[in-house]
């Protein structure tokens, strides 16, 4: 065998391997296709690609894997809402997902438009922007932190920098946290999550936000200031940082699904109704009942976009204030160079699944299903795909065949989910509690996820029975002056550091998982031990090494003499 033939053989082998691999896969792909063809007849599909929000990425990924069984191939890469809008405008994707619409032109003349590409907005899913944190007290994670919006705004603008701040203690009904730096984790890339968060800051706390930002309004790029704040790109990286080895003391903002996925706690945020609530699907849905939707069809650039001012001030005690919708951008132009009938069909059917059956997954994943009015409007937008290309088949794909958990078949006008929502536990009321239950596990309020619970609770009917809604152990260890469900002001004289410490002790001794705030810090090793150690080390080293050195010295002198 000559050298050349050996080389040739090697090359041929590699080529054959590659070809075999290539040839193998279409065969399997075909198998799959033929399998699927046995199920009801369906239109031809083509792969569609999209980029954008990481806020809604987790649920979209799940939908994509769900529709795969129907032969719809969707590629979604995330990368941030700004990237999504930009890719869509550059015509490199078939759809985009973004929390905020195209901003038109900003004050610096930078264009943020679709570059003339025809498009329509379509609400995709609702959800709450959650504040996830890692805070350890005596080696145990705090899982029931409560904060008011103002405190959050001050934390993210650098006005509150330590966990033992009085404002935080006040939010937690007097319990103070250890002396530990607060490290806010923000997004470094152009992000819809940041845009939602800063919109809320700008609308609800302009006096705190605007001086920090230097101007008014929202931004997709969080202005990172100071030495302490950490910036990370993508919701996933923010979540990784908070939950990572160095996460102690950090707090970051991500969609509720991320902490849920990691089993990490989220902040219960104080709402206008005076309760601290978690962004579960119910609380988000309640809050968004006050969302105003721009219904001006004449202007496609704003049609269906959200105006959330009333959401932030929703007086319902169940409402989670930082709730919002996420949007998909779909191309509507008949001449759109990227789109084909097959792609439009894939997009339409993907959306049909997402808006209907897909919404049932929203709750477990940490999002909230869309209400019926938005699903209806969404279907109208999907219809523009057919307008652009009459070959798109939309039969049997409408609201009547929609399996959406917010729909009440008997009473189509009402939001079934919002009516099912439980009232928050009494210990979540401002001035009471705090509850000992963990957050970030998707249990609704304090009582757990019980969809068939009494839906008749109304804001003024008083909180449901505290004994059922909250475990009893935490109640025992709560300050004795606050009766469960009392909702009264805290006992005379705010509990000081000593009380906090006792509470922590009580919490741990009672064997409950909850970690209460306490001002206990871990004692440092006595400083003199270090000095002693160094001296001892020096002595030891001298003891061992000096004889050798002396010998060498003596020997050399003797040798030279």
């Amino acid at each position: 065998m000559t050298r050349r033939s050996r080389l040739a053989a090697a090359l041929v082998a590699i080529t054959i391997a590659a070809i075999a691999a290539t040839a193998g896969s279409p065969a399997t792909a075909d198998d799959k296709a033929s399998d699927e063809n046995r199920t009801p007849a369906r239109a031809a599909y083509a792969t569609i690609e999209g980029t954008g929000s990481t806020w809604s990425e987790l649920i979209v990924k799940q939908w994509i894997s769900d529709v795969d069984a129907n032969g719809i191939k969707v590629v979604y890469t995330g990368g941030g809402s700004s990237k999504g809008r930009k890719d869509f405008a550059q015509g490199t994707t078939d759809f985009a997902i973004s929390e905020i619409p195209y901003q038109g032109t900003d004050e610096t003349g930078q264009a943020d438009t679709s570059n003339g590409r025809g498009y329509a907005y379509l609400p995709l899913v609702a959800g709450g922007t959650a504040f996830t944190y890692q805070l350890k007290v005596g080696g145990q994670m705090v899982k029931n932190l409560r904060l008011s919006g103002e405190t959050i705004a001050k934390i993210f603008t650098g006005q509150i920098t330590n966990w033992n701040d009085a404002a935080i203690a006040k939010d937690n009904n007097g319990r103070s946290f250890p002396d530990k730096q607060i490290v806010p984790v923000v997004r470094s890339d152009g992000s819809g999550t940041t845009a939602q968060f800063t919109t809320w800051l700008d609308k609800a706390y302009p006096s705190i936000w605007r001086p920090y930002f230097g101007r008014s309004g929202l931004t997709s790029y969080y202005p990172k200031k100071g030495d302490v704040m950490i910036a990370q790109s993508g919701s996933d990286q923010v979540m990784n940082t908070v939950s990572g080895f160095a996460g102690d003391g950090t707090i970051g903002y991500v969609e509720y699904s991320y902490p849920l996925d990691k089993d990490y706690p989220v902040v219960k945020v104080l709402n206008q109704g005076g309760y601290y609530v978690e962004p579960t699907q119910y609380n988000t849905a309640i809050a968004l009942t006050k969302a105003r939707i721009n219904m001006n069809k004449a202007d496609p650039t704003t049609y269906l976009t959200q105006i959330l001012d009333d959401v932030y001030t929703n007086p319902d005690p169940r409402a989670y204030p930082v709730s919002s919708y996420s949007y998909m951008l779909i191309p509507t132009g008949a001449q759109d160079p990227r789109m084909t009938t097959a792609k439009r069909q894939s997009l339409a059917d993907f959306l049909f699944y997402s808006l209907c059956s897909g919404q049932t997954k929203a709750g477990p994943f940490g999002y909230s299903p869309l209400p019926i009015n938005l699903v209806k409007a969404g279907f109208e937008q999907v219809a523009t795909l057919k307008k652009a290309d009459p070959a798109v088949n939309l039969t049997d794909r409408d609201v009547t065949s929609c399996n959406n958990p917010t729909f009440d078949p008997k009473n189509p006008g009402r939001n079934a989910l919002a009516e099912k929502a439980e009232m928050p536990a009494a210990c979540d009321k401002q001035g009471a509690g705090p509850c000992g239950t963990d957050t970030g596990n998707n249990s609704n309020n304090a009582g757990g996820d019980t969809p068939d619970a009494d839906p008749a609770a109304t804001p003024d009917a008083g909180p449901p029975s505290a004994g059922a809604a909250a475990p009893t152990t935490p109640q025992e260890s709560a300050p004795a002056a606050v009766p469960p469900g009392g909702g009264a002001a805290p006992a005379a004289g705010p509990p000081g550091a000593a009380t906090g410490a006792e509470d922590a002790a009580a919490a741990t001794s009672s064997g409950d998982d909850a970690v209460y705030a306490s001002s206990t810090t871990i004692d440092d090793r006595p400083l003199d031990s270090k000095t002693f150690g160094i001296v001892a080390l020096a002595l030891l080293a001298a003891l061992i090494l000096l004889p050798g050195l002396v010998t060498a010295r003596v020997r050399r002198r003797g040798g030279s003499a």
């Binding site: 930009k86 900003d106 610096t108 470094s188 100071g226 950490i230 910036a231 160095a246 003391g249 440092d524």
Partner: protein, 338 residues
């Protein structure tokens, strides 16, 4: 059979006009020469085109932002303030840390392989180092980001406590003297990213150094040993002076690679757009990770700014690689004289 000798007398009758000798190739050779030239030209067009394209793309950026592009620290597309001062410094910092770690390791490993290791395992060691160079960078990134980062953060705290007065190790955000310093201020730093990059470039530098060391004339080495030099004495007086070119060249080649490393850095560093002296403080940025993080959301002018940043990076690595090539070649030519 008999040998017929040419009859010299009849030479005059043979046509004695010399066969025309020309350097111009004919027939298949001409096809070969022109074909090769065409291939060379096409490669020239492709590779040169890339460089030219980058240079041309940088022009509108410099027109738009002027020299402020090189001095501005912020990369803020929101406000149309864009500059690469911070990322440039960050790039150099990461590469600097990487080289501080990689250089002694590479030198020691090269010396160990060429002078200390038993001859029978030498080939295996060479293969192992080459294998280390072939391990994908994303795997090093994984290794450092998920396994080493906590240790590196602890080390950074220790640095801050003991030599915190050196700006290089000072971390303003983390109170190192507190019983529990904020660990979050010490991870995600240029230092940690530098560790990952050093693992990538170390084998590269080591390979060049080892190759040059192995070319040391054996006669000189044996002469040194015969004169009573210890192994280290022989290394110091023969191997290191002879291999100086290889050491410098290998280091610079590794530096060139360290400047352009992307994924490991993007996995580790938390993006920050400010010049900081400290390498152990969290946050930083390099040109390549800036490109990886921001290419997607860049508008046309920002894309051109990213290309301009890439062009600057390319110029730096080009400069360093050229210097390295000159140094290595000079040392090689010395090797051939023995």
């Amino acid at each position: 059979m008999s040998t017929i000798l040419p009859d010299l007398d009849r030479a005059g009758e043979v046509d004695v006009t010399a066969r025309p000798i020309s350097r111009r190739s004919t027939g298949a050779d001409a096809v070969f020469a022109h074909g090769a030239r065409a291939v060379g030209a096409s490669v020239l067009v492709i590779t040169g085109g890339v460089g030219l394209f980058l240079g041309l793309q940088a022009v509108p950026t410099f027109q738009r932002y002027g020299l402020a592009f090189l001095t501005e620290q912020q990369w803020s597309p929101d406000t149309d303030v864009i500059g690469i001062a911070a990322v440039l410094v960050g790039t150099l910092q990461v590469a600097f840390v990487a080289m501080v770690i990689a250089f002694p390791l590479a030198l020691a490993t090269a010396l160990f392989i060429s002078e200390y290791a038993p001859a029978r395992i030498r080939a295996t060691l060479v293969s192992l180092v080459d294998l280390m160079a072939a391990v994908p960078s994303v795997i090093y990134g994984l290794f450092v980001a998920l396994l080493l980062m906590p240790y590196a953060a602890d080390l950074s705290i220790w640095f801050d406590r003991t030599v915190g007065w050196i700006p290089l190790f000072a971390v303003p955000g983390g109170n190192a003297d507190a019983p529990l310093p904020a660990l979050s201020q010490y991870g995600f730093s240029s230092f940690v990213a530098g560790i990952a990059v050093s693992m990538m470039v170390m084998p590269m530098a080591c390979a060049v150094m080892r190759q040059v060391f192995s070319q040391t004339p054996p006669g000189e080495k044996e002469a040194a040993l015969a004169l009573g030099a210890s192994t280290w004495g022989m290394i110091r007086t023969v191997v290191l002076p002879f291999g100086r070119g290889g050491i410098i060249g290998g280091t610079m080649l590794a530096l060139g690679r360290a400047l352009g490393e992307t994924i490991a850095v993007a996995l580790i560093l938390s993006p920050a757009f400010e010049i900081k002296w400290s390498v152990t403080e969290k946050g930083g940025n390099t040109i390549s990770s800036l490109i990886a993080n921001r290419f997607g959301e860049a508008s046309d002018s920002q894309l051109s700014a990213l290309l301009a940043a890439g062009f600057v990076l390319f110029l730096i690595t080009l400069l360093i690689n050229t210097l390295a090539a000159i140094v290595v070649n000079r040392s090689r030519s010395g090797a051939e004289t023995d």
